[in-house]
Symmetry: C2
Subunit: 369 residues, 2 copies
C-alpha cells in the first residue's frame, strides 16, 4: 500500500502536520505539492467502519484555494467552467469542472462564492492557480489570483453535526448541504461549509491563518471526545462505493466531463461563453464513447491499484480500473472504470486483470454501490 | 528521511518504474504528479561517493516536457521568460526561469529548441503546461501545448561519457554542454542532451515512447557494467555542494530570479517583451534584499530538513535553510539559504536552528562549496 516518501520543503507540511504526526499517521500522499495523510488506523477497513459510524478529523489542507478577486473575477471564473455560475449567491458552494479548449478536464474544484467579485476555487491535484494566472494575463483581465493561507480541516461522519454544533453553536445544524457560513473561532471569523469528500456527512473548516492550526485541531479533537473521534482521511473504500471520483485517478486531461457523469454541470445550449464550449458541444452531439461505472470483482482482496488494470469482455478491453480495493461490507472488490458504451449496462459480466496476474470475474454496477 | 507514500494512479509510474523497483529503490518523491526515485544505496553518502566516482542511471521522467509548437510558439516561449531566446538555435538547451507578472518564480525549466516553431520546456515541479495553455488561450495565440510521451533517463557521473559512447557511438563525446543531438536506439531516433542535475557530468536521454522504457534501461545498464554503474537519483549532498537549486525548495513564487542568482538569465534593458518585466526591472533598480548562499553548520549530522530552519545572526533572523544535509567530504552540514543583504558576506558567522532544537554554529559560504 505504501512505500518510502522522501520529505523536503517542496512537499509542503500543513498547519496540522505536527498534530497528524502526533496522532500516529502511517502514510501520506502528495496533492498540490502538500502532504495529505492517508492512513491512521491499523487498516483502511477499520478506518472505513469508523467513518461510517462515528466522527473523524481530516487534514485536507491540500485542497488549496485559488483566490480570484477583482472587477473581472466573475467573468474569469465563468470562462473557466461549463457550469453556469450566474445564479450563485455568496454562501454557495458549486462543484465546477474546469476544462481546456479540447474539453479535457483540468481540475474539478468546488467554487466558493465569497462576494460578487471574490471567489475561491478549492482544488484537486493540479495547479489551477497557474492556469487562472495565464488566462488573466493573456486576456488582460483585471483580477488578482493568489493562494491564500487557507487550510481546510474536515470533520466527517454521522456524528459530525453534533460535534460541530457543540463547538460552533447550534446554528451550524441549519447550514444546508454545499452552503457555507462564517463562525467564530478564538476571536477570528472562519468559513465553514457543509461539505466533504465522503458520503457520511460533515463539514469543512476553511481555516484562514495557519498559525491557528494546532489550536483548531485540538478544539475539534476535544469536542469530538463524546463522539468517539479519530484522526482520518479520505477513505478509498468509502469513496469508491460512494462514487466519489478523484482527479488524476478517474479523470485526467484525456477525459471530458460528459463521460465522467458530469453532464448535469455542463451548459450545452450556448447561453454562456466558456473555454471548451465548442469541443464539448461537438462531443455531446456525437455522443460519448464511454461512461463512468462501478465494477465489482472477485478473487479475494486485490493489491493496490497504482496503475490502471484492464477491464475485459472476452478478449476485448472495454475499460480500465483506475481505483480499486476490497470492500468488507460488500465482500467483494470494488472499483471505478470508464467503460466503452455498448458494454456499460449494469450487470454486464467483465474480467478484471489486476497487477497480481489474476483474471478476476466481475460485473458492471451503478454508483453509488 | 522517509515516511510511507500511498500509491495511486494519480501519482504516475514512469516507463522505468518496474526496473527501478527491481533495482531495490527504497524511497520516492513526487514531482509533476509522478514518481521520482530518491534512494537506492544503503545511505545517501554511499550514493554520493559513487556518483562522484563512477556512473549512475537515474529515472528523471518527472522532468516532464511541455511541448509548444505552432506559428506563435516562439512568441509564447519568449513571453514566458526574462531570458532572451532570440539567439537560440535548434539543438540548444537553455535554462529559462519563468516568472509571473510580479516577477515571482513559477518554474525554472530547461528549454530545448527543436525547431524555429517547436520547443520543449523540461520542467521542475509545477504545472507549466496549464500556465502556457492559459496564456495561449487568453491571448488567442496559434500554438499547440501538449505533454508528449517523453521520459528523460539520465546517465550521470565521470564515467558517463565513456558509457554513452559505447552505447550510442563516439560522436556523443563531441556533444557540447547544454547541446542536444539525435541518436539511434532500436530503430528509433532519440534526443540526447549533454546535461543533468549534478555537477559530475553526463547526459539525459529524452526517451520518446514509454513502451521502450525497460529496453532503454536495460541497454544502459548493460553498457554500464564496465563502469560500475548503479541505479541512482539526484543526490542531495552533491546538489547542495554544487549549488544546484530546486524549485519548491530554494525558490517559490515568493522569490524573484535576481535573489536566486539568476540575474545573468534576465534581460533588464527593455529589449524584449516578457511577463513580469516591469516588476523585475523595478526590483533591479531598487536592489535585491536577499541573496542565495551556501551555509555550513556544525553539531553533527542534521535531521531531514522538511520545513525551513531559521538562520540567525544573534537574535536576528537573516535567512532560512531550505535544503540541508551532512556532507561526508566537508565533514560538516551543508545547506542552502536566502540571506538578507548585509549578512551575506562569505564567512559571516551564523547560527542554524534545526528541527531537533539544536542551535548549530555555522557560516556563510560561496557556491559551489
Amino acid at each position: 500500500m505504501s512505500d518510502g516518501l522522501n520529505l523536503s520543503r517542496r512537499i509542503r507540511r500543513t498547519p496540522y502536520t505536527d498534530r497528524v504526526e502526533a496522532a500516529g499517521v502511517r502514510g501520506f500522499s502528495v496533492v498540490n505539492h502538500m502532504l495529505l495523510p492517508k492512513a491512521f488506523q491499523p487498516t483502511v477497513e477499520q478506518d472505513y467502519w469508523h467513518l461510517r459510524t462515528h466522527a473523524q478529523i481530516w487534514d485536507v489542507s491540500c485542497q488549496r484555494q485559488v483566490d480570484i478577486s477583482g472587477p473581472d473575477a466573475a467573468r474569469l471564473v465563468q470562462w473557466m467552467t461549463p457550469r453556469n455560475i450566474g445564479g450563485a449567491k455568496p454562501g454557495d458552494c458549486l462543484y465546477v469542472p474546469i476544462i481546456d479548449a479540447d474539453a479535457g478536464l483540468i481540475n474539478d474544484p468546488v467554487l466558493l462564492k465569497l462576494a460578487e467579485d471574490h471567489f475561491w476555487l478549492s482544488i484537486a491535484d493540479s495547479d489551477v492557480l497557474l492556469y487562472a494566472k495565464g488566462l488573466a494575463i493573456g486576456a488582460g483581465m483585471d483580477v488578482r489570483v493568489t493562494e491564500p493561507d487557507v487550510s481546510p480541516l474536515a470533520v466527517q461522519g454521522p456524528k459530525a453535526v453534533d460535534l460541530m454544533a457543540d463547538l460552533f453553536g447550534a446554528a451550524i445544524r441549519d447550514l444546508g448541504f454545499f452552503k457555507f457560513g462564517w463562525f467564530d473561532f478564538q476571536g477570528t471569523k472562519q468559513l465553514i461549509a457543509r461539505s466533504g469528500y465522503s458520503r457520511q456527512g460533515g463539514y469543512e473548516i476553511y481555516l484562514n491563518g495557519g498559525s491557528l492550526g494546532s489550536a483548531l485541531w485540538d478544539a475539534v479533537w476535544q469536542a469530538g471526545q463524546p463522539y468517539n473521534i479519530t484522526p482520518g482521511c479520505p477513505n478509498l473504500i468509502e469513496r469508491i462505493e460512494g462514487g466519489l471520483f478523484s482527479y488524476g485517478n478517474e479523470m485526467t486531461r484525456d477525459n471530458n466531463p460528459l463521460e465522467i457523469g458530469l453532464g448535469k454541470f455542463c451548459t450545452l445550449d450556448g447561453s454562456i461563453d466558456y473555454i471548451g464550449s465548442q469541443a464539448l458541444r461537438r462531443i455531446a452531439t456525437e455522443g460519448i464513447r464511454r461512461d463512468i461505472r462501478g465494477v465489482t470483482f472477485d478473487g479475494g482482496p486485490c493489491p493496490t491499484c497504482s496503475s490502471p488494470w484492464p477491464v475485459m469482455v472476452g478478449a476485448l478491453k472495454v475499460g480500465q480500473i483506475t481505483s480499486g480495493i476490497w470492500s468488507p461490507r460488500l465482500k467483494t472488490n470494488v472499483g471505478l472504470s470508464l467503460i466503452d458504451t455498448g458494454y456499460d449496462d449494469i450487470g454486464q459480466p467483465v474480467t478484471v486483470h489486476s497487477r497480481d496476474g489474476l483474471a478476476r470475474v466481475g460485473q458492471i454496477t451503478s454508483l453509488p454501490m
